[in-house]
């Protein structure tokens, strides 16, 4: 379960805002590795008649999948968690080489009240890994800024072929808590 750190974010409809933006940009393939922070968006995608949700066994599959989708004329978006970014590193090399539109939405762990130390190393290096790999990073920390950040990210990824990652911060999602 997730506990929400900010009272203003307790009724999260930002996943709906993300879904609406993706729909407007005609995104068709949505590869994902299951993740609690993305669960509402994943459900919207799976219920959609225009988008195809594609569960992966590891995040790097999604990078290659999006290259193939673009070769075939479709846009996609990769949904993952910060720990999954580490699984993608070599496959991210396809992006500058093939120059296909790359957008990924990353739910963050390892920050803002994280209780699990094992999440911290990858969460702390997520932004650096993207930047070293040539992917621009935008961040959303509050529900109110999600629509504008998504609009900017989708626009530069799909219209300007600028590889972009949106980090959905743990402050937005709520630090994960485990109760006995």
């Amino acid at each position: 379960m997730h506990a929400h750190a900010d009272a203003a974010d307790t009724a999260p409809n930002w996943p709906d805002d993300i879904f609406a933006t993706l729909q407007r940009f005609d995104v068709r393939q949505v590869p994902y590795v299951p993740d609690a922070g993305h669960s509402k968006l994943i459900q919207r995608v799976l219920d959609s008649s225009t988008m195809r949700g594609i569960p992966l066994t590891t995040e790097e599959e999604g990078v290659a999948l999006l290259a193939g989708a673009w070769a075939g004329g479709q846009r996609g978006v990769l949904l993952m968690q910060s720990s999954g970014v580490g699984n993608c590193i070599n496959m991210l090399s396809l992006i500058p080489i093939l120059r296909f539109p790359f957008l990924t939405l990353v739910t963050m762990r390892g920050e803002w009240g994280e209780f699990n130390p094992w999440q911290v190393p990858m969460g702390s290096t997520t932004q650096g890994v993207f930047e070293l790999s040539g992917v621009q990073v935008l961040r959303a920390s509050h529900a109110a800024e999600v629509p504008a950040v998504l609009e900017a990210a989708a626009s530069q990824a799909y219209n300007a072929l600028t590889p972009t990652a949106v980090l959905l911060s743990q402050r937005l999602i709520g630090a994960k808590v485990f109760t006995k």
């Binding site: 999948l65 290259a67 673009w70 070599n90 093939l98």
Partner: protein, 196 residues
């Protein structure tokens, strides 16, 4: 080591692509991409020079985007072993127009011929079947290669997977273009998509 009873990789790939019509072919990182080029450069050839383990997933993304188009991934045992999870992802999506042909010489030919897991332990056909790709077979004769090449055009009966035991002889490299953007945009252009 070259064994007489195994298939010739170039002959296999030229047979797979001989009457390709509208097939889009993706070659895995390594010799399979060279084999595709040796069979004749083509606007619908997707050559990989990197991104090892990604060939089958590129095939899946393309196959889902273009469900009426036959999509054929031609890759090696080492490249396929690096992306085994993608067989599970493909088994779940069941793209009827996707075919995967693995050229299995049980070795990493590009790096000096070190033996691969398929030489002693890993059964790729077994993996593909267990991942839900029902039409998975081991191929050891050219007649079977010809039948598979024909089946690739049936875009309503896939996904299909074939592991083809090939000779591990090292062949002269026939190198395609290394310009990835050109390769991808040439395919898009041939499919009728304009540049952005």
């Amino acid at each position: 080591m070259s064994k007489a009873n195994l298939l010739d990789r170039r002959q296999v790939v030229s047979t797979l692509l001989a009457n390709r019509k509208d097939v889009v072919a993706i070659g895995g990182l390594g010799a399979s991409t060279n084999d595709m080029c040796a069979a004749g450069d083509h606007a619908r050839n997707f050559y990989l020079w990197g991104g090892m383990g990604g060939a089958a997933m590129i095939g899946l993304g393309l196959a889902l985007a273009q469900p009426k188009l036959p999509v054929l991934v031609i890759t090696g045992d080492g490249e396929m072993l690096m992306g085994l999870g993608s067989l599970a992802t493909i088994g779940l999506q069941k793209p009827a127009n996707l075919s995967i042909a693995v050229l299995d010489n049980e070795a990493y030919g590009e790096t000096g011929g070190q033996t691969s897991h398929t030489s002693a332990a890993a059964d790729l056909v077994g993996v593909a079947k267990a991942c839900g790709i029902k039409d998975s077979q081991s191929i050891t004769t050219m007649a079977e290669v010809e039948a598979f090449a024909k089946a690739v055009h049936d875009v309503s009966a896939g996904p299909r997977f074939a592991n083809m035991k090939i000779d591990s002889a090292s062949l002269e490299r026939i190198l395609p273009t290394r310009d990835g953007t050109y390769i991808l945009n040439r395919i898009r252009g041939d499919l009728g998509f304009q540049p952005i």
